[in-house]
């Protein structure tokens, strides 16, 4: 009798939860969110253990451009000064 009512309880509870299904859009929502987190994730170990010095190249280019401009213009101003 105990086992019969236990089996009934098991079947009834399973039927109860099986009446509802997980949402169909759940997978797409999960993968979208996981991809967003992966994109934003900053791996500190990479920064600390393998610093990417190349990323500073743009600022080096900028300073190089600036000093080239100074040099070129100073030469030009010098030439102009001599002509006058």
């Amino acid at each position: 009798m105990e086992k019969k009512s236990d089996a009934f309880l098991r079947k009834m509870l399973k039927n109860w939860v099986n009446r509802q299904c997980p949402p169909d859009s759940g997978r797409a929502r999960l993968l979208w969110e996981a991809a967003r987190i992966s994109r934003n994730k900053i791996d500190l170990s990479v920064i600390l253990l393998h610093p990417q010095f190349k990323s500073y190249s743009s600022s080096n280019d900028w300073s190089q451009t600036f000093f080239t401009w100074i040099n070129e213009n100073s030469i030009q101003f010098g030439i102009q000064a001599r002509i006058i």
């Binding site: 009512s5 236990d6 009934f8 309880l9 098991r10 079947k11 009834m12 509870l13 399973k14 039927n15 109860w16 939860v17 099986n18 009446r19 509802q20 299904c21 997980p22 949402p23 759940g26 997978r27 929502r29 999960l30 993968l31 969110e33 996981a34 991809a35 987190i37 992966s38």
Partner: protein, 194 residues
């Protein structure tokens, strides 16, 4: 892809594979959703918890041992998040619901309310929801997920004796709520059972 084991998928997930996450989701979403639904009694909450559990699996993939079965981890995370959801709801929303019922006043006399009350499945939900949270978790893992006492003790991190006692009291309370002790069986439920 279906023949790949959970352990191999966990390794792929650790390497950052979202495809592996998708396969694990398809494989285990029923287990997580049913467990969360049974503990919370709320389908929307269960859907949100399903999302949260797999998002945590993705975030904490590096901490998971691929050599061990994944299901206990999923059960543990699902029950913990479901417990948190229920406690938060009890703290914040129960008083609001009581006020709403009091303001509604005559709601209990309406035919709609009576029909709702007569719904046998709602009685099952109420019977499960009325169990103390610790008993509810054990009952859900035992009856709905077919786990053994030992597996439940490992998932919930409690002694087997505690699992047995919670299961005993949970079972008795459920049978009493559903009229099974008196030999009554709700007609709709009996129909579903046969």
């Amino acid at each position: 892809m279906e023949a790949i084991t959970d352990s191999e998928l966990a390794l792929s997930l650790q390497a950052g594979s979202l495809e592996a996450l998708g396969v694990l989701y398809d494989r285990h979403r029923g287990l997580v959703f049913r467990t969360a639904l049974a503990i919370t009694g709320d389908a929307e909450a269960a859907a949100d918890l399903l999302h949260d559990v797999f998002l945590r699996l993705h975030r904490f993939a590096a901490h998971i041992d691929p050599q061990r079965p994944l299901e206990p981890w999923l059960y543990r995370m699902t029950t913990n998040l479901s417990y948190t959801w229920v406690k938060r709801r009890q703290r914040w929303f129960r008083p609001l619901e009581d006020v709403a019922d009091w303001l509604a006043g005559t709601r209990k006399d309406t035919p709609a309310y009576q029909a709702e009350k007569d719904d046998s499945w709602r009685q099952v939900q109420q019977a499960v929801s009325s169990l103390p949270l610790s008993h509810r978790g054990v009952v859900v893992l035992y009856y709905i997920n077919d786990l053994s006492l030992l597996e439940i003790s490992e998932i919930l991190d409690i002694p087997v004796g505690t699992v047995k006692s919670r299961l005993h009291y949970g079972r008795q309370a459920l049978k009493q709520s559903l009229g099974l002790l008196a030999g009554e069986i709700l007609p709709e439920l009996q129909y579903e059972f046969t």
